[in-house]
């Protein structure tokens, strides 16, 4: 049986490249045919793995449009600030949690492709992104969560907007910012935006 054709979608190239590298170990089962930040998937794919890193769940029109404009099954690959019901409302065929190790991620992709529901992918014990190999700011020691929050700041969102649209408490948002500031060596939002711009965060996305 040929491997299923997989398109990877995210706003950050570093995230896509890391994910593709991780999945290359399973090329006999999943073949990554395209990495893209666009909503138009030019290569023919069986499944589009939509990595929500850097996306705010509320009002995520990009996911809705990818679902509408492509025939492939769209699988949301995320963590708990992007709720399953939000993904389903946008038309996703399945949802895989980032806490799964790589082998289980592949199993879950195959199961959803074969028509299983996302209940076949058990929720992990931890919300840590164990299967997320790379992200912006990783070189400075930022965790995936801290990196994601910094990306929102670099796009001009206030803490309250991040809290509301990412389904996190405002204290949680501030905690991530505080630990990220410590690692970046900055103390203000303006400095944080500047740091992000110099370290691979794209404020256009």
């Amino acid at each position: 049986m040929r491997p299923i054709r997989l398109a990877l979608s995210n706003d950050y190239h570093v995230v896509l490249a890391g994910l593709a590298a991780m999945l290359s170990e399973y090329s006999d089962r999943v073949e990554v045919v395209v990495l893209t930040s666009d909503r138009d998937i030019t290569e023919e794919a069986d499944v589009i793995l939509y990595d929500t890193f850097g996306r705010l769940a509320q009002g995520d029109d990009k996911l809705r449009k990818i679902v509408e404009e492509n025939d492939a099954k769209v699988v949301v690959y995320s963590w708990d600030n992007y709720p399953v019901d939000v993904a389903r409302n946008h038309g996703a065929a399945g949802y895989i949690h980032k806490g799964l190790p790589p082998g289980e991620l592949v199993e879950a992709i195959l199961a959803i492709h074969q028509g299983s529901t996302d209940e076949s992918a058990p929720a992990p014990d931890s919300d840590e992104a164990r299967s997320m190999p790379s992200w912006p700011g990783q070189h400075a020691g930022l965790s995936p969560r801290e990196s994601e929050i910094l990306g929102f700041i670099a796009r001009g969102f206030t803490n309250e907007e991040i809290s509301r649209r990412a389904y996190l408490s405002i204290n949680t948002v501030k905690t991530y910012i505080r630990t990220a500031y410590r690692k970046m060596g900055v103390t203000s939002r303006a400095q944080a935006v500047g740091w992000a711009l110099r370290n691979g965060f794209d404020s256009e996305t």
Binding site: G156, N159, K174, R189, G194, S203
Partner: protein, 241 residues
């Protein structure tokens, strides 16, 4: 003492401002330590040079509700009467606004009761990085207490200045904090977009933005919003709504 609404908003929306403990908690702790030394202290403002904003806490009793009134009426007739020592102002009982105006007057009079203030510089590596202003309803409330106050506030006692802000101007400055922080953040976002679009450094983008604003005859703030709007459109064209 409790933070004024704009201080809470600024810290919640654009914080945390520190990499250690929560700034709001720290400010409350500082105000508690101050009132242990000076029970008459009813207001505290801290200005941080690095952030370019001021945060203010005020006592939440009626006396300080009066301070709020003082800030809002500013140079109105009631305050003018107080300043010029013209005595009570009378209002007609038939005037439907009489009660409201009486309250306004009483608040202004009470606000004029800020009888002493103390300003202390905050130093780091022999440089002033900010300042603390304290406000009390009693005269001479801070006399002889500069050193213990400076100690609990991490300030420099020899640099103390008395009664420099009897009108509590720092409160008004603190009210501008959310807007100032919003504009600064938007500026940085716009510079990032510009730097990426033009493939130049952030410094070069800063110069280009200023030049473009001057040529277009618009304020830098308007230019910032235009850039962000266009940057978002460009992003949307790439498929990212």
């Amino acid at each position: 003492m409790e933070p004024i609404p704009e201080t809470s908003e600024a810290i919640d929306e654009f914080g945390p401002f520190t990499t250690g403990s929560d700034l709001l908690e720290r400010l409350r702790e500082m105000s508690d330590l101050v009132t242990e030394i000076v029970p008459e202290c009813v207001g505290l403002s801290i200005a941080y040079r690095e952030h370019g904003v001021t945060f203010t806490l005020v006592a939440s009793d009626e006396t300080i509700a009066a301070l709020d009134g003082f800030q809002y009426v500013d140079d109105g007739p009631c305050v003018a009467a107080v300043r010029e020592d013209r005595g009570p102002v009378e209002f007609s009982a038939e005037d439907p606004l009489a009660e409201e105006r009486w309250h306004l007057f009483s608040r202004a009079c009470a606000a004029a009761g800020i009888a002493s203030t103390l300003t202390l510089p905050i130093m780091a590596d022999h440089t002033a990085v900010g300042s603390v202003n304290l406000y009390a309803a009693a005269p001479h409330a801070f006399t002889g207490k500069h050193t213990p106050l400076a100690h609990v506030l991490g300030a420099w006692a020899p640099g103390a200045v008395a009664n420099a802000d009897l009108s509590f101007d720092t409160r008004r400055t603190a009210q501008q904090a959310p807007q100032l922080l919003y504009e600064e953040t938007r500026l940085q976002v716009a510079l990032g977009i510009l730097a990426a679009l033009l493939d130049v450094s952030v410094d070069a983008a800063t110069a280009r933005l200023q030049d473009a604003a001057e040529r277009a005859g618009v304020s830098p703030t308007e230019m910032v919003e235009l850039i962000i709007e266009q940057g978002t459109s460009a992003s949307r064209d790439l498929g990212d709504a």
